[in-house]
Amino acid sequence: MNILESLGTVFTASVAAATLRLATPYLFAAIGETFGQRSGLLNLGVDGIMLMGAFFAFYAVYATGSLLLGLAAALLIGALLGLAMAFISVTLKAKQGVSGIGLYLFGLGMSELLFQTLVGTPKSVEGFPPIYIPGLSDIQFLGIGQIFFSQNILVYLAFLSVPISAFIFNRTNFGLKIRAVGQNPAAADAMDVSVTRIRYATQIIGGMMAGLAGASLSIALLDVFQQNLTNGMGFIAVALVYFGRWKPLGVMLGALLFSFVNALQLQISAVGIQIPPEFSTMAPYVITIIALVFAGKQSERPTALTVPFQRGE
């Protein structure tokens, strides 16, 4: 088929809808990680927390059938693991890269272990259904209805978290403290801001968001759990924080770009256009890098990122 036709068959509303779905887990995880990094903490263990969140959400729903319990479970385990990570990197001042990798391994193994012992083989659960908003969902024009008004609740939540977190960073005391602690902890400390408390808080928030990210997979988008369900999404999420230069909006753009290219390459082979699969699979990664090459250069890096704080003593 000729180029124009193929373009028509490739850039469809369903691709856009798929983009939003694919972006959802990345958004949750990356926005959560942004909280941590803004306050000076790098958490490489996101993927591990995601896996635990995914399993606990899945299991809660599998056992009780209650989606809310599923969410609660994911948030709880996320908070716990965030707390653990905070204790390790803030109180014990451990090298954050290593402890993160440790946390990842722990989550990877533990989620699978629990799954094997409590569930056995993959089972599917009744996850969050798409919400059809009468009227809106039926808008045919540009497939608006399908793209924006027929997703499940977690997709909306993920995108909601962007303006909310932006507001927190820029308009609230808490956000101010986070930024200060990430830029100049000594100054924040001298102004009676508890660096420790703030970093614990951001790490716990990050953990809960990562838990949600996992839940969005296991009880909203896939409705199933399997060993290593996230397949390394957590690491991409960390990368997206750098892509977004620690700004929620930027992080969202990164997540959307990455997911869009992915949705596109799937669509391309779905309509039977032949490209070596290796190259189409490669595309999102390549394009993310290229995009960053052309993006603006200035960035407000949290200067204290990964540097444990230690008062004068």
């Binding site: 369903s14 809808a17 399997q226 060993q227 369900l229 799937l266």
Partner: protein, 317 residues
């Protein structure tokens, strides 16, 4: 040496993957139940890392405690070749491949996945109303490729106008990506889906959600696929294992290459007990399976002609 037959096996993914690793684990468990005290097996799962498998295999081989050491994954080939040379007294089996490296203590086993693929493809073509079918594969290799190719040719042979599109997502484990691949098919009008490798648990969910039909392979996914599931090609490694146990009992440590086929019962077509299909459609399904199996066994139907061209294994005894 007592009269207990001891087997040790290593496999890449987890034994609960509803796919490749599980097929071998189930076979061994089945034998264990049948033979009771006369049979024991150890299983090291989740060994994606070839070097770790190498350590395990060497450990077993050198221990001399095992009558049969199985490397369940084509990536383990080089390791088996080396160890078999080093431990000529130990019987090795590996798959899926056909290459015994010309060693008397190595058996290779593989599966004619194209056969079940062909039948699933034919059924898909018959049951599809939109005439649009989607297949999700991992990477273009081994039994996955055989299944997918067989499936495609099965569709073509049954309904030349039907379109069947294939997406290789380049991963055995990426459930989210596989899921979106399936969704992409659906949004382009596919009403029947199939796929191979452990990440298909995602696409199966998609089939369920949009009440489409699902065809599976490697292990039975009937329970997970519920009313969407139609037919599954199940690998019955126990067929090979039985032969091996017998041969080894007689002192032949290997040298042969086995292929699971419909004929030797190594490939089994299972119709889902949970399927949502109505009575007579189910009847047609069963008839088609019977007829096609017939044809394939008798050789009237050749699922993948190009396979013939390439030197292949001698069929199992």
């Amino acid at each position: 040496q007592d009269d207990v037959f001891r087997v040790a096996a290593v496999s890449p993914s987890a034994t609960n993957d509803l796919a490749f690793s599980q097929s071998m684990f189930d076979a061994l468990t089945m034998l264990d139940e049948e033979m009771g005290d006369a049979f024991e097996f150890t299983f090291q799962e989740g060994t994606f890392i070839v070097d770790d498998a190498a350590v395990a295999l060497r450990d077993w081989a050198s221990s001399g405690e095992y009558d049969l050491v199985i490397a369940h994954g084509s990536q383990y080939g080089s390791v088996v070749e080396e160890l078999a040379n080093e431990f000529p007294e130990v019987a090795f089996a590996w798959g899926t491949d056909v290459n015994t490296f010309g060693l008397p203590n190595v058996s290779a086993y593989t599966v004619a996945a194209e056969q079940g693929g062909y039948i699933n493809g034919a059924l898909a073509a018959i049951l599809s109303e939109t005439g649009n079918i989607g297949v999700i594969g991992p990477i273009e290799v081994g039994d996955a490729k055989l299944y997918v190719d067989g499936f495609v040719s099965g569709v073509g042979a049954t309904d030349p106008d039907a379109t069947v599109n294939v997406t290789y997502i380049q991963s055995f484990g990426d459930v989210p990506l596989a899921t979106e691949a399936a969704t992409a098919f659906v949004s382009n009008g596919a009403d029947v889906l199939s796929g191979t490798a452990q990440m298909v648990v995602g696409p199966i969910g998609v089939a369920l959600e949009n009440d489409l039909l699902w065809f599976g392979t490697q292990s039975s996914q009937a329970e997970l696929a519920a009313e969407s599931g139609v037919a599954f090609q199940v690998y019955r490694w126990d067929v090979v294992l039985r032969d091996l146990i017998a041969d080894i009992g007689e002192g032949t440590l290997g040298g042969e290459s086995y292929v699971l086929t419909l004929e030797n019962g190594g490939v089994e077509m299972e119709v889902s007990e949970f399927t949502g299909l109505d009575e007579e459609t189910l009847a047609t399904v069963e008839e088609t399976i019977a007829a096609l199996s017939e044809g394939i066994i008798s050789g009237e139907i050749v699922p993948l002609p190009e396979l013939e061209a390439t030197p292949e294994a001698t069929p199992a005894s």
